[in-house]
Amino acid sequence: MSDKSFVRTEMLPELDPPASTVGIVGWMRENLFSSVVNSILTVVSLGFIFYILAGLLPWIFQSEWGATSLTECREIFNEKYGTSHGHACWGVVNDRWLQLLYGFYPDYLYWRVNLALVLTLAALAPILFAEKAPRQMIYLTMAYPFLMPWLLWGGSIWGPICAAAGFVVIFFGYRFVTNIAGSLVGLIVSVLAGIIWWMFIAGTVASGLESVLNIGIEAVESRKFGGFMLALLLGIVAIGCSLPLGILLALGRQSDLLIVKTICVGFIEFIRGVPLITLLFVASLLLNVFLPPGTNFDIILRVMIMMTLFSAAYMAETIRGGLAALPKGQYEGADSLGLNYWQAQRLIIMPQALKISIPGIVSNFIGIFKDTTLVSIIGLFDVIGLSTAIRADTAWNGIYWELFAFIAVLFFIVCFSMSRYSMYLERKLQTGHKR
């Protein structure tokens, strides 16, 4: 027996993993050809993609941008490719894109619409990217609800200023009365004062100021609004107004007060049970019937009201889901701190409930934005209404793919960015509830 033993003194160098498990080959083996079924699926999908692209790419790129009518397009295609089929005639988009975007808005006033859009983005910045935008921008956000309608509809500047003054009245009224008679009385008195200001005083003051000092820009009638701008306008207003209304409705539905609860439940279930079309019928045909004789207000405003109500009912249900998902301990914690109902909602319940329901809220936003196209059915010229009108035009009679592709891309960009933003927000607000 010898006591010799073999001990390795040096380590072998590390080898690269087999070529078939790393890099592009490994990835393909793993993801595309891991089994027979998978390989078949891959081949079928490749064939499918090839089929689609083979049809789509020549259609998109072997196209004509300059033509001013479909017949001209077809002549060009016949000359160039020998057939008039299978080529996109983008001339229609080139010819009508301004109309598709702005409707019948006067073309020398397009800058106002553009400015309003820029303002919208600027006003949204402090809300959407709170930590990146400068704090002072919040003043712009506060002025925005009065600035935007003035820019779009035009007219005297005193109207929006007097409307905004109502909030100043409420604010100082609240400060002043609260010092004397307590917060609840202060709230009631100041809100009443605001309502009285808006209903009876604001109009007179505005017309008085206008006769003294007439500052204003050219007024544009509502029936000139149209195109994608109308979708954006309706979408922004419905989204902006429906969130607070939806929160109130959700709180009302969760409330202990039987009558308040019944009213809220009735409203929500009614709105959710009927299609938006019928509500738009109400806006276009009936709203004037429900209001005092002689009232006749703008069709766009009527549509805005109905869309806001519609969206608010859906929003309320989404937020109710968030409220229901909160652990009971959060409510009890708020009570044990001695917070009253509104304080508890504002500081503890709502921030968490809203955070939970972000995906639902954003998909509601996307839904309501897409639903703005329905106004074409009650005769407003939004993008789809305009596309029908363009297709009825003799120059472009028979064109459809190109127009619909353009509209679809417009909506896709806005909706897709909204959904991506919601995912970003979810990640940002992640506070570790997820496993």
Binding site: L41, V274, I277, F281, V289
Partner: protein
């Protein structure tokens, strides 16, 4: 909320209505109720005054007047001499047809796409993602209008089927004609038909029930019932002896043999569409508007259903799959026996709201001229009679009723499959 149990020491003061939590809720409720009633009264009185000035007080008398317009796609017989009520009824049936067809197709497509989106195959999963994003981010109205435009513009006209060397031919062994006026499919005909039962006499709601269909359904249900019994017996035998008797051929026979016999007795044959003159005749004609609406609604809703299905499957913890694998189940059985039954509980509630949405979206039929209830009651009838208030209110009522029934039925089903907890 703070609640006092002791009775108040001091006597009641008016300010306690606001400041005392015991009375405050009552005060708020009373104020809310009064506000609500005032608002309602204000709206109603405005409406009555306005309608009086317009000279059309609320009345439903127009329902019995002849509608004098035609409805081309219909389930029951109808002509333009029939009343507005009959037209609305036909429209309602059309709404239900497209809703049911759409829900079935959307579910099948949606489940398929949702499962495929989770596929291990990278390419397949990506294609499904593109599908879902494409349909979710573009308005449904655009899809409907697009589907209609494509059907009208890209399909051959009936004229193209004529002549010695026609440009277009009928598909599926010359049984289905796909034209730009719609799709003609074979219809079921019977040599010795049992006839129809007429319900409700000559009223607007008259309804024909085909006895052939009733007989078919009765035999089918009886067959399924017996087949179910055979399965139960097989289960019992398996539990007692450990061996499962082969029953698939018995079960198939029990369902299909009686049906075949019944069809033979009734003299079943198919009526094929034939080109006559300028158009096809015979067969069942499904109009473009119906197909466009059905197609667009199903494809659109399928994208949403796919996401729900995907979410539901992802919600099932991976441990369940692994445990099932450890028991020796194969991939397909893991899905059907372990994952899907659990995922179903997560999936059903949002699925209900998608069915509701599809039904409500079917009101967009008005954009392509499909005569559903929005097209009849809320469209032509409203325009002809000028009775906006009555028509819109009734329209809303009908949709509300449909929505409530769907959610009632689906919630009942949800309760049935829900986990029984404490």
């Amino acid at each position: 909320m703070t609640t006092l149990t002791d009775p108040p020491k001091e006597s009641f003061r008016l300010s306690m209505l606001i400041y005392d939590t015991r009375y405050r809720s009552a005060t708020i409720q009373v104020v809310a109720l009064m506000g609500f009633m005032l608002l309602a009264a204000w709206l109603i009185s405005n409406t009555l005054t306005n309608l009086e000035t317009l000279g059309k007080p609320i009345s439903l008398a127009f329902f019995t007047e002849p509608a004098s317009y035609d409805i081309n796609q219909r389930l029951l017989e109808y002509d333009s001499r029939d009343s507005h009520l009959r037209a609305a009824f036909i429209g309602l049936l059309n709404t239900l047809v497209v809703a049911v067809l759409g829900c079935i197709t959307a579910t099948i497509l949606g489940v398929l796409i949702g499962v495929l989106r989770l596929s291990k195959n990278w390419l397949v999963a990506r294609i499904m993602t593109v599908y879902v994003e494409m349909f979710r981010n573009v308005p449904v109205l655009l899809w409907i209008v697009l589907a209609m435009a494509v059907l009208i513009e890209s399909l051959p006209s009936p004229r193209a089927f004529r002549g010695e060397n026609p440009e277009a031919t009928m598909s599926l062994f010359d049984t289905v004609a796909v034209t730009n006026r719609g799709v003609y499919i074979p219809e079921a005909l019977f040599h010795n038909s049992l006839g129809n039962i007429h319900l409700f006499g000559q009223s607007s709601m008259r309804f024909d029930i085909s006895l052939d269909l009733v007989a078919f359904l009765v035999v089918l249900i009886a067959g399924l019932f017996v087949s179910n019994k055979i399965k139960q017996r097989a289960d019992k035998v398996q539990e007692e002896t450990g061996e499962r008797p082969t029953t698939w051929w018995q079960r198939l026979a029990v369902v299909f043999v009686p049906i075949v016999i019944l069809l033979a007795i009734l003299g079943f044959h198919l009526g094929y569409p034939e080109l006559k003159g300028f158009n096809f005749s015979g067969g069942t004609h499904m109009r473009n508007s119906l197909i466009a609406l059905w197609l667009a609604l199903s494809l659109y809703t399928a994208a949403f259903i796919a996401e729900i299905v995907r979410g539901g499957i992802l919600a099932i913890s991976h441990g369940q799959t692994e445990a099932a694998g450890a028991l020796g189940l194969r991939q397909g059985r893991i899905m059907s026996l372990v994952v899907l039954p659990q995922a179903l509980r997560v999936i059903i509630p949002p699925m209900i709201s998608n069915y509701l949405n599809l039904t409500k979206n079917s009101s967009l039929a008005i954009a392509v001229g499909y005569m559903d209830i929005t097209g009849t009651l809320g469209g032509i009838t409203m325009n002809q009679t000028g009775r906006e208030l009555e028509c819109v209110v009734l329209l809303m009522g009908v949709y509300l009723l449909i929505s409530l029934s769907i959610s009632f039925v689906m919630n009942w089903y949800n309760k049935r499959v829900a986990l029984v907890e404490r």
